[in-house]
Symmetry: C2
Subunit: 164 residues, 2 copies
DNA sequence: TATTGTTATACTCTATAACTATA
DNA sequence: TATAGTTATAGAGTATAACAATA
């Protein structure tokens, strides 16, 4: 069972990389928490969506998502409009100011990463992102060998929702 | 600057993988927190060491490390002996019971990973661990292109300190 | 009756700052 | 005076459970 060594090593690195996340998480728009900032980036990447979808992407409890969305709404960076298809849900979407804040946020975090990962090639960055994506997909749903990794689009850096 | 898309994708995946970490983090010995469990695994992997070294490996503030160590000491799973070379420091090391708890913890977490990552090859696991290690090393110290990744040893799964 | 969100509450983790003891 | 660690405190994140509104 020395197989375990590989799993243990992965767990340690998964744990240790938390410090990188925390460092990046300190780069936030004024008045915005890291959790709310994450919601902002998800809306920019995937477009407007309901709390439930955000919750799934975040991999957290709906209560956390709800609070982050409220926070962003209070800042005026998102609006929550009733879903015509299901009045229980509201669709969360970025406001113009939300777009601005997100663009600045993305730039600042990207610059920080670029500064620190000077010796990383695109290939490495992509591969790590890909493996992480696959890890989460398989972990959440061990059944399928496939997972829905989608390479970042050419437009992703604009932080605009894809034809929301 | 569509370069940013790669960084943004990496950030998103780094953030999203937190849910995997939280899931694994719920597997802990009774009475032990995830933070304390992490200290346990570090002691198992690297052997007895001072709070300062643990702090560096954890990538957190010394105060957090101190509290986890206290917690473990209270459980009787580690001892803290004065460092003969510097009386300000104490060396944290696993007790026999700490070893037992760690072994069980490692087994349980590994089994969980094995169950969920059935379609992962050793090569994939190793590569992801490697990239994560490199990410943290380069992020913390962008100067050097080298980093101190050490492949898991054959004995790592025994969770014994290497000739502590 | 089941589902989507929201809110209140509790627990854990981390950072900051003040403090003790030793180098 | 500088450093290693500890403790108290505060801020942020998530999960649980109870609740409201709609399907």
């Amino acid at each position: 069972m020395s197989e375990n060594a590989l799993y243990e090593e992965l767990m340690r690195q998964l744990s240790a990389v938390g410090s990188v996340r925390r460092d990046l998480g300190r780069i936030v728009p004024f008045g915005c928490s890291d959790g709310a900032a994450t919601v902002l980036t998800l809306l920019g990447r995937h477009g407007a969506m309901r709390i439930g979808q955000l919750t799934e992407l975040l991999g957290v409890n709906p209560s956390a998502t709800s609070r982050h969305a409220s926070h962003l709404a209070m800042l005026g960076w998102v609006d929550r409009t009733l879903d015509p298809a299901d009045q229980r849900s509201r669709i969360v979407h970025l406001t113009p100011e939300g777009h601005e804040q997100l663009a600045e946020l993305s730039d600042r975090r990207s610059q920080e990463l670029a500064k620190r990962l000077t010796n990383w090639r695109d290939k490495d960055l992509h591969q790590l992102a890909h493996l992480l994506s696959r890890l989460r997909a398989d972990f959440d749903d061990p059944g399928t060998g496939q997972h829905a990794y989608k390479a970042p689009s050419e437009d992703a850096h604009r932080a605009r929702p894809p034809a929301a």
